[in-house]
Symmetry: D2
Subunit: 286 residues, 4 copies
């Protein structure tokens, strides 16, 4: 069983030595080690995957946790330890276009995404296609109109709380979250925007792209913040297009890059590879 430690603190000499020393002293061996220091702010970002020498039995969980807590205090670090057994509880939200949802569920079934999908939430009723994808996952229809947005968000907030949700994925959910809810979900709500941000923010980005005559379209997965389409970017990719592509062609080509980008971002998040650095992210890719 692999454990993953992630931390961020003010950079200073000796941090790698302190942590790798503590892990070794508590019978652990390191599988992957990544670190990054932001040259502007001097913040250090670290991710260590490790496992107990001689198998899990040797994992002296209590005393290692104590050691990590002491190091956390010493270095003023924000840190977390993922024990590799508890999967994150994820709510997937969708509107009409279900290609990202279908892709995430398919990858989850194949074992690519270590998560427990606890609910699908949509502002639309369940379509036959989505119904075929659900399996045992409950589907919650939370309709919304311009007038009922606040009430719908209250129902959503209650649901997320009741489900002990660790991560919300907006898989082409086309409603804008309120600043308040976006704030509450800081660092645990991922959205896919169907453009290469910061180009083509807002509505109908493929039409904007076609009108501007760009030669590549893209997709951006980012954490949601109160600033629409301005949250920290986790992953981006592009696809080549030409003058011959209609907006419908762009939508078709875009589906592929949206699926690819969102699934990578969710996978990076679920495997503790994304650390927040202000308005940016540090991503240690697999």
């Amino acid at each position: 069983m692999t454990h993953t430690l992630t931390l961020t603190c003010a950079g200073r000499p000796g941090i790698v030595a302190a942590y790798s020393g503590a892990l070794f002293a508590h019978g652990q061996t390191i599988d992957e080690f990544d670190q990054h220091e932001d040259p502007g702010t001097g913040r250090l970002f670290m991710r260590v995957a490790f496992h107990a020498v001689g198998g899990d039995a040797a994992m002296t969980a209590g005393s290692l946790s104590t050691a990590l807590r002491e190091l956390g205090v010493q270095f003023g670090a924000r840190w977390s330890l993922n024990d590799g057994r508890t999967k994150r509880r994820v709510v997937l939200m969708v509107s009409k276009f279900d290609h990202c949802l279908a892709d995430l569920l398919y990858r989850w079934r194949l074992g690519e995404l270590p998560m427990t999908p606890v609910a699908i939430v949509s502002n639309h009723p369940c379509s036959p296609t989505i119904a075929g994808l659900l399996g045992d996952i409950p589907y919650h229809h939370l309709p919304v109109t311009r007038d009922t947005r606040a009430a719908q968000e209250d129902r959503l907030r209650a649901l997320l709380s009741m489900l002990a949700c660790d991560l919300v994925v907006l898989a082409r959910y086309m409603q804008v979250l309120s600043d308040q809810l976006a704030h509450e979900l800081t660092g645990r709500c991922i959205n896919i925007h169907h453009s290469f941000l910061p180009s083509f923010k807002g509505a109908r980005p493929y039409h904007q792209a076609q009108a501007r005559g760009v030669k590549l379209i893209g997709a951006t997965a980012h954490y949601v913040t109160g600033d629409l389409d301005e949250g920290p970017i986790i992953e981006q990719d592009v696809e080549r297009i030409s003058h011959a592509d209609s907006p419908d062609d762009l939508i078709r080509k875009g589906r592929d890059v949206e699926r690819r980008v969102l699934s990578r971002a969710v996978r990076y998040h679920l495997t503790d590879r994304v650390l927040l650095d202000g308005v940016r992210t540090v991503v240690f890719p697999d």
Copy 2:
């Protein structure tokens, strides 16, 4: 010898038949045939590469030209015929960073770019590196300050006119052309902007990209218009970056994508593969 006909007109049935019929009637055989109709405006864009059956001797240039002129009138077409012998006369402009200039000259020497470079123009004196690249191409130093911009442009305009320049390539020339000059050079001045437009217009795009935390950087080759960084896009490409890249790393990685994008755009232009469609381009790639 391959001739290239490019044309644009209002789309209507029979255009392909008329032109291919005329070419056949005048002893020509078609090598490449490309067409596109803009679904919004109904404008037709066409490119035909052809050569005389039985070799150039059979090219009855006069009567074919007459036929093309008549067809042009019939269809209300703007068209041009490139006889494949006359190379375009190109002025390359540069400021301090010479990687795009060096790349263009190297590709020209290898035969990738069918052009005659008639001058290098810079607002800086000739560096030893650039001197080593020049061969017989004259170098014109046109210094400029905030106060002498208009006068410098007059000198530039006179030079372009004197050299019978067909195409200006701004190969990291860091001065903004006046609206007036940009207008005069419509469709025959290509600029490379070191971002994936429309993201990060204006100055220091790599620093903007680093601050925003994007995961790809790009470059855009476009025709220059009075609207800075808003001209019709010819070619774009991107390169993957990460949190670990400093602005200097982005500049290094960006040089590669800038060179690739600019040289492709210039090549497309020189081989009559780019047609203007309002604020966009139709590019028939090779």
Copy 3:
């Protein structure tokens, strides 16, 4: 309604003129025109998409067909006309790994693939995941052992015949077809091989790739011929890997590129964009 004409014949002057003239004379207007002449063999390959001026009613199908037949005789052409109404009848074959099958069915439901799936055929019983994807499509379990291969192929052949199957897609079907059946299906059986052919033919290509230490893995969609993994290539793509990727990681990364490559190849085939040129293909991409 768009009709598509594809043809191949010995190249000679006047072919474009003859066909575009005939189409115009029969009230058609051209949407897309692609041609290619193989410089080695002089064979011409052509694809014309067109529609009747003033709508389908004006399609004088009978007399246009006569004209095309006459032209076909005149130029010694192999040609076909796809009227855009009749969708090809497709049999999808699969073994254990169903990611390509799931992807094709999902894209078909979204309208990306103009086909009628008439059967799923597998040498394994139907899994719950596949069952969820089937909808009304019948599933045929044709088990096979080393000893029953010929008999199983007879059942398969009978099924394809009974279903009037136009195209067979081997969507990770892991049994090798006999030379005889491969020959019978020339030009209408597409396979996905999970390597960048001609590298890593045969079994377990991801393990071969990992052992050789390549830095990119790929996938290849090709027409099936008697020569295993040697058929004409329709589409290929690659994905970057590193020393840190285990064979299991390669399999995961490979699934993405396999799905992308196979779905593109099938789409190209279904939209008459692939023409056979001996052991190679001419692909006019969309």
Copy 4:
């Protein structure tokens, strides 16, 4: 001044702790830390970039070296320490096609490649183009025929020895080195092969690619071994092609990918990012 430590040894718990502890104890702080353990062989590969806290003056070079020597013995490690001041002495070899050589020299002038080019060696006389690139770098013409190969290699071997050459780059040098010389240069001779290995080994790979009808061409930079085109791969990349590309087009498109791949591989080698793992490499990219 950044120092770089690279090492490989049998993997076991405590190695990261031991090295990071020693660096901290000797006044160093870590800039980058990479490790990889080969799951098949259990070999550990490590790269640490670090600098002295408080500047170079604090670098207690002697005692740190002693500590590293002791650790090397303790863990049975092969290791090396690059002090970031001494640039590697590089011999660049070329035949007729000089695009890779020109690119490497241009990047070196821009500061992208931390090396000292001590000689250009060719089996052809110096062309005017190459002469323009040389600057102060001596050019050695070592002609070779089928009969004089051994003698030419003796001259080459003597030259490499006299120049204290650390790295040989075969920048489209079209002569095959003898097994003996390849063996002597193990791990310090990089070749660029103009195909996506293991496809299209041997001569004229672009013609092979065109004949096979692949849809992407590639290039491979690898260490030279006695096995022609079988050495450990450092870097690869591809470029999309189509049926319309002649072998000459492939050669033109290939130049770009060759330049990109070779310059990346040389940069990785010069910055101690490539470690040999049998017939494969571990590359810690920048």
